[in-house]
């Protein structure tokens, strides 16, 4: 994540966070409590680690009525927003995954690689028009830019992590119902390549070895769905009798719900650090996330992920191959 991107770097002003929050709350009150939250078009990790706990805090602290709120997100994230909205609308019910991916990659190219929704851009407005019609313009909009404006200086180290933690509330997460048959006992696995776990022969071998080892102990359920909406490329684990791919072919509008349902019922989640490795602790599932180049991770995320896992009384280990070997041998 390029948090040194010019649009991300802003000096922190005393009282700025309170002003931003007050403006957002006031806009909702002016709209009679009606608000659209979203559209969330970015990464799973930020959505679960920051956005949703912040929304819980915002709603509870300022007594906003969730029943008057419409959430727009993508991929079947409805269950994540339980208690936060009266209505959930999925982007993929209105925009094809191919269009979504193309528009997203074009936007990243235009903004010099900035993947965060730091402003309401034309693409956000097109998504809202497509999902809600033009009526959303009449009410309040709690756009993800609020999150980035509030906490970008936390991610930059210019404000204490406490500034986020004190504005986060962690509620129990109820898993969605599974849409596919799952074994009674299994390890959920999702490996993909990213900057902190790049596509190298060593990491391909690691995925092969780790998944093979896991499958000797209990069935492995790969969470790969085949849905591609960003730049991440799945790492291909080895074939095997106990390596199952029940989610292959799940439609885009339900892929996150299907993955959530599987993760939540697993005995263990193992995969690339990020995204689902942030999600699994919310369901109380012990988690091992791999990172082979930790220089590519903003350490604030590691800290918030660790502290969040503690809140959910769930072990989360972010490891290299060497640290994983220690776990295997301990």
């Amino acid at each position: 994540m390029p948090t040194d991107h010019p649009e991300f770097v802003h000096p922190s002003q005393p009282g700025a966070a309170e002003r931003l929050i007050a403006e957002a709350v006031e806009s909702v009150r002016r709209a009679g409590g009606h608000a659209v939250v979203g559209p969330w078009l970015g990464e799973v990790g930020f959505e679960v680690l920051y956005w949703i706990p912040f929304l819980h805090w915002l709603f509870e602290r300022h007594e906003l009525d969730p029943q008057r709120v419409t959430v727009v997100s993508r991929g079947g994230a409805a269950s994540w927003y339980e208690g936060l909205c009266g209505r959930y609308v999925d982007v993929f019910d209105h925009v094809s995954p191919d269009d979504f991916r193309r528009q997203t990659l074009e936007l990243w190219a235009e903004t010099g690689g900035l993947q965060k929704q730091v402003a309401v851009r034309a693409w956000d407005e097109r998504v809202l028009d497509a999902t809600l019609g033009e009526g959303w313009r009449e009410g309040a909009l709690l756009h993800p830019q609020l999150l980035y404006r509030l906490f970008r200086n936390v991610w930059q180290g210019a404000l204490p992590i406490r500034d986020f933690l004190e504005r986060a509330v962690h509620r129990p997460w109820r898993p969605p119902d599974p849409t596919v048959d799952l074994p009674a006992d299994f390890t959920a696995v999702r490996f993909y390549f990213r900057d902190s776990f790049p596509d190298t022969p060593e990491n391909r071998q690691l995925v092969h070895d780790v998944v093979g080892r896991l499958a000797r102990r209990r069935p492995v359920v790969l969470l790969d769905t085949g849905v591609v909406v960003d730049e991440h490329v799945d790492a291909e684990p080895p074939p095997g009798e106990k390596i199952l791919r029940p989610l292959a072919g799940v439609d885009a509008a339900h892929n996150l719900a299907a993955q959530s349902a599987a993760v939540a019922r697993a005995q263990l989640f193992v995969g690339t650090y990020g995204g689902l490795a942030h999600l699994a602790p919310f369901y109380g599932v012990p988690t091992i996330g791999f990172a082979s180049d930790t220089r590519e991770i903003n350490p604030v995320h590691l800290t918030v992920a660790r502290r969040t896992a503690v809140v959910y009384d769930t072990p989360l280990a972010v490891v290299s191959a060497g640290a994983y070997d220690v776990l295997e041998a301990a």
């Binding site: 200086n153 930059q156 180290g157 210019a158 404000l159 204490p160 992590i161 406490r162 102990r217 005995q267 263990l268 012990p286 091992i288 990172a291 180049d293 930790t294 220089r295 991770i297 903003n298 350490p299 590691l302 800290t303 660790r306 502290r307 503690v310 769930t314 072990p315 989360l316 280990a317 972010v318 490891v319 290299s320 191959a321 060497g322 640290a323 070997d325 220690v326 776990l327 295997e328 301990a330």
Partner: protein, 199 residues
């Protein structure tokens, strides 16, 4: 420039201030105060600067030594010579570190003034109690799983994660109960944690 500003820059005033730098440091309430005191000391090219010892091993490795390294690199103090060195005590710096450790202060001012460097060699990957040994392991390039107790200072853990990430090393924190639960999820309910608790 104000009269006070001009006075502060006068060589004789600065020489006088240098003689009382200990008092200036003792009164330091901000990192800028500390910077000013160190700048004063660096202006005397005939007087070397020494740094006092920090009695707490963990604070020494995580905060004081990296601060000393930064100060020496940034200010380029006079080399050791015939004259008695001026000693910079750790207390004023550790008082500012305490603001960060309390969770009140942003990490950036501290991060700007610390240099953590690999220790050289290659330490063995290990599960260790959260301690100076865990920090040594990270600085030595060892993938480290540190077991934290309830008395761990969250900000220390945060900084250690930053250091590990900056150096490209692997560090993860777990309570003993969570580590046991993770091992049982990984290897089966019979898995037992075997590690050197250091006790």
């Amino acid at each position: 420039m104000t009269l006070l500003g001009a006075l502060r820059k006068h060589p004789r005033v600065r020489a006088l201030a240098r003689r009382h730098v200990g008092a200036l440091l003792a009164r330091a309430r901000t990192w800028a105060n500390v910077d000013s005191a160190l700048r004063l000391l660096a202006e005397d090219r005939n007087r070397p600067v020494a740094f006092g010892a920090c009695g707490d091993e963990l604070l020494d490795l995580l905060y004081w030594q990296p601060f000393v390294r930064w100060a020496q690199q940034t200010f380029g103090f006079a080399p050791d010579g015939a004259r008695e060195p001026v000693t910079v005590p750790p207390e004023p710096v550790l008082a500012l570190v305490d603001e960060y450790r309390s969770g009140e202060a942003a990490p950036r001012p501290l991060l700007k003034r610390t240099r953590h460097v690999p220790s050289g060699g290659r330490a063995e990957a290990a599960i260790v109690p959260w301690s100076a040994d865990a920090v040594r392991g990270v600085l030595g390039g060892a993938p480290t799983i540190a077991i934290v107790g309830e008395d761990a200072v969250e900000a220390d853990l945060d900084l250690a994660l930053r250091v590990a990430a900056d150096l490209g090393e692997s560090l993860t924190f777990l309570s003993e109960r969570h580590l046991t639960r993770l091992l049982q999820a990984l290897r089966g309910p019979g898995a037992e944690l075997q590690w050197d608790s250091g006790s």
